[in-house]
Subunit: 333 residues, 2 copies
């Protein structure tokens, strides 16, 4: 399994290392997104799956299982499970956010309709439960059903918290754990569980996924205010225009003067935005240094992810997972 990854990015090196496993995952996804009776299902799913994200989540499951010496067939089922849950979530998110673009392509809700996105999401969600049931591991079922509930709870919390100026860093963290970190941590945890790893190893894998997911989401939220459109596929300030409270703004609100607070009430809580508001919001974030403070937070979570990895035995995959933790915040430079 050894290769020279010196030149490549860590997630690409991991993808190369796990190529055979990933091919098995892709075949299983292909087989299970089929539907005998409803051709709309594979059409919608293929549009999203075919757009090809990095498949980071299923790769985390495969990596965790291999790192723990797993040699059975079920890490493939679990990786496909994780990707199906992720895809179902994306389909429903795009309906909830009324999004028109995802991964640089029109969203399924735009190409077909909201109905198809809701119901095909439900189908993939059900398929994911079938796949995890096939592993025969009740521990795995417990972890993944808990993660699903945490994801949905985080999404509902975000609905009400996003435009509520009382949303503080703790509530933000709950939302982020729900919408992003819960699936990352379940993905790594079940890899250890299916390999029957020791509890402290499983705990370290969970902690790694949790911290990685949080770092990833904080970086994403930061890039919304300072990234390039080409890098993120989004425009600068989309979250501001969509009235989504994220960490850089939450930090600015916490320090706001009376007058500044009125600005945030008008633009975020009431959504009455005017020309120049985004620029003023960026000035306020600059005044309190909240973009760099947010960057520091992302780095702190990366450090936690790496500390968790350090508890695992030496392994080529361990080093690549450590590299991935660095990589998710490297985008910020």
């Amino acid at each position: 399994m050894s290769l020279d990854h010196a030149a490549s990015k860590p997630h690409e090196a991991l993808a190369t290392l796990l190529r055979d496993d990933m091919e098995a995952v892709n075949s299983l996804i292909e087989a299970r997104m089929a539907s005998e009776h409803a051709p709309r299902i594979p059409e919608v799913t293929a549009h999203l799956v075919g757009a090809g994200g990095k498949r980071l989540r299923p790769m985390l499951t495969l990596a965790a299982a291999r790192l723990c010496g797993y040699n059975g067939p079920h890490h493939v089922h679990l990786a496909a499970t994780v990707e199906f849950i992720h895809t179902a979530t994306l389909l429903h998110d795009d309906v909830v956010d009324e999004s028109a673009q995802r991964r640089g392509r029109p969203t399924a809700n735009l190409l077909w309709d909201n109905k198809s996105s809701v119901l095909v999401g439900d189908y993939l969600f059900s398929r994911s439960f079938q796949l995890m049931t096939e592993t025969g591991s009740l521990d795995v079922l417990r972890i993944l059903s808990n993660a699903s509930a945490t994801i949905a709870e985080g999404e509902v919390l975000q609905l009400t918290a996003a435009t509520d100026l009382r949303t503080d860093e703790n509530i933000y963290l709950q939302v982020v754990r729900g919408k992003t970190a819960a699936l990352f941590s379940a993905a790594t945890e079940v890899g250890g569980v299916i390999a029957d790893a020791d509890p402290e190893i499983v705990k370290a894998l969970f902690d790694y996924g949790d911290a990685l997911g949080i770092a990833f989401q904080i970086a994403d939220d930061l890039l919304d205010y300072q990234g390039e459109t080409s890098q993120t596929g989004k425009n600068i300030g989309d979250d501001f225009r969509e009235r989504k409270l994220t960490l850089p703004v939450i930090k600015a609100i916490a320090q706001a003067t009376q007058e500044e607070r009125q600005f945030w009430v008008r633009t975020i809580e009431k959504g009455r935005q005017e020309d120049g508001d985004l620029e003023h919001a960026l000035e306020l974030m600059d005044k309190y240094g909240t973009l760099s403070a947010t960057r520091d937070d992302a780095y702190a979570w990366t450090a936690k992810a790496k500390a968790a990895m350090a508890k695992l035995p030496e392994h080529e995959i361990r080093d690549l997972l450590t590299g991935i933790a660095d990589y998710v915040v490297e985008r910020l430079n």
Copy 2:
């Protein structure tokens, strides 16, 4: 457990007989629809659960388990699972159908928004998987995850089949199995499985639920054309106006003249409806006797449900379940 049910309807008599179990189910539902972080979740759920349907599906699970002599605690988890899956489906259905009323009250998507309905539905769906995982029975997990996939597949199929004049009785039956019968049959089947009943008993319970669900849906579709608004909470011809092909129309299209076919193409496929179209549609159904043919089909499925029950040993609950099969078509008289 014995009571005099002579005077009451069979589902009411069953509810009385299973009162303690149903109270345990209601408490479990109450506890599990809570959310520590997102108060929107119990608000939306309580609106729907509090509107109080007949709770027929969870009662079927309790009845099947008791009929098979089950004495453990897990039939309560399974009944709550079934009710959560049903509630999640209703929330998503109302988004898909853009419904404004359910059980005589405004729908959640109208009172809150589509976003809340989609995400709270996802939450209840996840909760249902947590509950079934707690039973520790992989057979139960297999049956219920398969049923969930069948439900979602049936709903997607309905999206494309409902306005497609090629939809024949076979496709209609697939849709009905998905949208209604799959949860009925899973509800009765898991009751037998959790009680460790013999395979032929489990099979008979499945067959009963399947036939009962189909009879129930056919009766519903028929009532849309001949019921009273007070009985169904819907207006006569809602399915026609919403361009949903159901059995009475499918049977009329199968026998249509060239000219009649053009009428169905215009009104259902193209959705260009005018004053008097519903009346003409009813005339065509009358011409070919499709309402009474549809009623005959509902009765035939009721007979199948009763034949399945006849394979079970004598039991008070068996007789009530047989009575329920009669009751779902009694509405048609």
